[in-house]
Point group: C2
């Protein structure tokens, strides 16, 4: 018992308005999950995260990176502190990735074998080994609400043969991840405190930019009957049409009654587009990383077009307007572009704080609006009365999926 998912309404294009129930609370979907790599959404205090964006409701769920927390401060330390929620003082839902993507993108001198991956830390060069079993042990110690199966991320571009080989490894690792997770899931730090609940393990569909492999990967993972499925290996440099095509194609082969999560995307218009195609969850470092580089998202007044503003430009030096005149975040309601430019130009630490707060609000507001649009139909939808055809048979009144 760890996850319930209910599709409240599905639009014509496949977009779904749903609700995800997790040990640390309910999440309205589609949802954007801010990334808190090292158990901190960079530069943003937790109380701001809780109240900024989405009409003051803030972030419903955040992500933390297994690879980073494993290296520093160490997952066993986090376990002794009561898990990542208590460690960072965040009581809402969380998700940890498997560490796979970071091992492949950040670490040095990787040596991959069917058993797992040997690598050197990007921090101090020390040697480590990650296997599906180890990823599960680390993620159970961290104790996010949702854990991810350990996957291999193929380099890009890659041939069909190389991609298929990597995908097969990902499937074998998913099965091993599930076995280990099922055997050890009761070890999550909050198991007793939350009435015997456990984390939920999601699988990750791979298959590169090959539609047939994406289908095969989805089918293999669905056979494992996991409570949710992610689409990985996208937004790694391919054209956006390809990303979209791979998402659309993969979604067709994923069960409608389980949450579908596209990892690591994207720009604000992308997350809106994918949500309307039927993606329920997304995460990306973009809002916070762009913010630290002075790149701010906004909609020009009277336009639905999303613009990116480079706050360091001279043209903003005396601009007394907020970043976005239609934004109600605590940055736009208080500070001018002129001041934000000054902070950025002066290398002031407050620059990253305020820019990140705005960009996160922009993302969270975007998804709040998308949820509103998906929730509106020809007739009023009563969300308390979920559409029964979208309920998973057997999930029963407690709305929980217990694979």
């Amino acid at each position: 018992m760890g996850l319930g998912f209910e599709v409240l309404r599905t639009g014509e294009a496949g977009g779904r308005r749903g609700a995800l129930s997790l040990p640390h609370g309910e999440v309205q979907t589609p949802v954007f999950m801010p990334v808190g790599t090292a158990a901190t959404v960079k530069a943003v205090p937790q109380d701001v995260l809780e109240g900024n964006g989405a009409g003051g409701k803030g972030a419903q769920i955040i992500l933390a990176n297994t690879y980073h927390l494993y290296l520093r401060p160490g997952h066993e330390l986090v376990r002794r502190m009561g898990g990542v929620h208590r460690f960072m003082s965040w009581s809402r839902p969380m998700l940890t990735d498997s560490g796979g993507f970071q091992v492949f993108s950040l670490s040095k001198l990787r040596k991959i074998s069917p058993e797992g991956v040997e690598f050197r830390s990007h921090l101090d060069g020390s040697k480590h080994f990650f296997s599906p079993e180890h990823s599960m042990d680390v993620q159970i110690a961290l104790g996010a609400d949702i854990a991810m199966a350990f996957d291999e991320c193929v380099e890009t571009p890659a041939t069909w043969e190389r991609t298929r080989e990597s995908m097969a490894l990902t499937h074998a690792w998913a099965a091993r991840s599930k076995d280990r997770f099922e055997a050890h899931k009761h070890r999550v730090p909050w198991h007793e405190a939350l009435g015997g609940q456990t984390q939920s393990l999601f699988g990750i569909v791979q298959g590169g930019m090959y539609a047939d492999l994406r289908r095969e990967s989805a089918e293999r993972l669905v056979e494992m009957d996991l409570p949710g499925y992610a689409i990985g290996g996208l937004a790694v440099g391919e054209p956006r049409e390809v990303t979209r095509e791979m998402i659309a194609h993969t979604l067709e082969h994923l069960p409608k009654d389980r949450p579908r999560y596209v990892m690591g995307v994207g720009y604000p218009d992308e997350i809106e587009e994918y949500a309307k195609m039927g993606v329920d969850m997304m995460d990306c470092v973009l809002p916070t990383r762009a913010a630290r580089h002075g790149l701010l998202f906004l909609r020009e007044p009277g336009s639905s077009e999303i613009t990116r503003m480079n706050i360091k430009k001279k043209e903003y030096a005396e601009d007394q307007r907020p970043i976005d005149e239609n934004c109600g975040c605590r940055v736009c309601s208080r500070y001018t572009r002129a001041y934000l430019r000054h902070l950025f130009s002066s290398g002031e630490p407050l620059s990253a704080v305020l820019n990140s707060i705005h960009n996160l609000a922009f993302y969270l507001d975007t998804m709040e609006r998308v949820r509103g649009e998906l929730g509106r139909g020809d007739s009023d939808v009563d969300f308390a009365q979920a559409e029964s055809q979208n309920r998973r048979s057997g999930a029963g009144a407690d709305r929980r999926v217990s694979p």
Copy 2:
């Protein structure tokens, strides 16, 4: 019209509980002023400053540095933005220093003449010239509630002769500062918006570590009949007994009905000590600068002793306690030492934010407590009924000093 000062009660040791009335609001004294060098108290958002510390009342008045704002973004830009209050969105009182101390401590290739100081920017090596007149023009453009006379800061240690020479220059510059200020004070950006009010110009007592020169400096400045007096040139490396002695000696020669401000001090126990000796205002970068280096102030439970904790130490890695168990700041009420150590060790930007918030709260709480102690007497003091003997004759019912 720009300043009112009322001493509400004076303790036996000379400490005064007072109230300072400024164009942007009232300030309860003794007061600690957080330093917002570049129109930002480093790493702390303005709304946090407004509500953190001093029982949720936050910072009553903050300081900004004339030298920094002159160089970047430029005082004329700040004037066009409506002054530093509007520029940074801070509606409570502010004070700017004269730029003197920074010209002498940060800039390069200084060339001092009776006319003023030629120097090169520490940012880009560009050549600049500051005179008392220019410092006034810059400070009037910035528009803080209190401006400071332009002073020379003598190197330390310095001989009596050298110190006296420098002090004489400071006095000449103070007179020129006052002349320029009086002639141009109506040009402050908010002059009309605040009903014709103006800034107030404080003089700065110099005289190094020589009691006779401190006395002479105080006497010369008092002759200029300024609305407040600062004691400068202390906390520059001398032993603390010397600082204390210089403060005590100088206070004797300053009028009791004017606010007395010691610049650039100090540790929490120092600001408490000086406040109880009769200092009304203090500022220091220490709480925020120490915070960015992981140094946090606290009182050990059951002790009145102030301790400094180096949060990067291994011993805090699994310490689930807050920084200070008796502190009610938003950091101590939410985060553990273990988490704060992790943020610092990981170089996370949130580290500076949270550490600064706590240290500032510690300083503001300290002064709030001191105000409480100074306000308590053998009989209850009704602060609405100021002690009439401390009122400046002629200040009248509006409690304003109009020199």
